[in-house]
């Protein structure tokens, strides 16, 4: 009869398996890039109906803030040549909230504003009449680079968001993060926007310098 062998413990030390698995897990967590869905929202104008062209609306020149970018990425802002956009957002804010010749509704709007926004009102007769009439017009050439266009568009959005956020006592980042997923957020968004429509007009590019 065979003698019962005193077997040595043959169990493999599996304690470090967990570490290896963790390492793999962390590797996958780090390398997985989740597609980001962040961006600047723009709503394009409806398509042109050749039978039913949109009515020609004459706006006073003072109510339009014209920003042009040529194919050399130089700026023409309200008729002045620039080669950078420093301070443009402040100028845009002053333009939107100018209250040059407000009608009754805009006087009521003005009175409802917090002091920090009221301070922007320059009452300059050569700038916009009231926020409802102010339009920011961005016009590019076909050869303008997308980056410059986006930079200016971003600043125009910033001007509006700054105003909206100041009205509801939030920081601009907080206001922008509102998605309207519940009633409280929605009412905040609406209170910020009320009476100040975001009027950013993107003109058809000129056929210069592109293809």
């Amino acid at each position: 009869m065979a003698r019962k062998k005193n077997r040595m413990s043959t169990e493999v030390n599996a304690g470090s398996m967990a570490d290896i698995a963790f390492l793999l897990l962390i590797f996958f967590l780090v390398t997985t890039t989740i597609a980001s869905d962040k961006g600047i929202l723009n709503v394009l104008p409806p398509k042109l109906d050749p039978l039913n062209p949109p009515p020609e609306i004459d706006l006073n020149e003072r109510n339009i803030f014209v920003i042009r970018i040529n194919s050399n990425d130089q700026y023409l802002i309200e008729g002045d040549y620039r080669d950078n956009t420093d301070g443009l957002d402040e100028e845009l804010k002053a333009f939107i909230m100018n209250f040059g010749s407000p009608d009754e509704a805009s006087v009521a709007l003005y009175n409802s504003l917090p002091a920090s926004v009221k301070a922007l009102a320059g009452r300059n007769p050569e700038s916009s009449d009231d926020p409802g009439d102010a339009v920011i017009s961005i016009k590019t050439d076909r050869g303008t680079s997308y980056e410059k266009y986006l930079e200016v568009f971003d600043l125009a959005k910033k001007a509006y968001f700054d105003i909206y956020a100041a009205r509801v006592n939030l920081s601009t980042d907080e206001y922008r993060a509102l998605t309207g997923k519940n009633d409280a957020e929605e009412s905040l968004i609406d209170r910020g926007k009320e009476g100040i429509p975001m009027a950013i007009s993107i003109a058809e590019p000129d056929k210069i310098g592109g293809n």
Partner: protein, 152 residues
Amino acid sequence: MAKFGKKTKAEVNIPTSALPDIIFMLLFFFMVTTVLREQEILVEQKIPAATQLQKLQKKTLISYIFIGKPKNTALHGTEPRVQANDALMNTPDIVQWVNQERDMLPESDRGGITISMKVDRDVKMGPISDVQNELREADARRVLYASIGKVK
């Protein structure tokens, strides 16, 4: 004085040999559920930076369009091209593509379709405005200029 009986110590070692299995199970779960975007991007994508980023509430409404210089310049040339789904396409085909994308959405959401334009920063405005005209034609007017946060 009461004499306490010597307690027989129970073996308190929890067997940990099953721990790796549990962790592997977690790992496999994550590996399987992570949906990697299987799209091969055929155009260059250096997304520009901006500050005023917004997130959309409903991600299912977003369709992606990529614009940039083709990576394979020998085959597709150096002019900026438009990519949607897996293939490069010509600008006039965008209307049809938008309609296909819209048909995939539930009926109640079709009006809210949003096109995320992932545009390389070196592209000029010409091709972009052509694409935007096509999107207007297709009545998909909500456009998201995809961009990454700018470090202030």
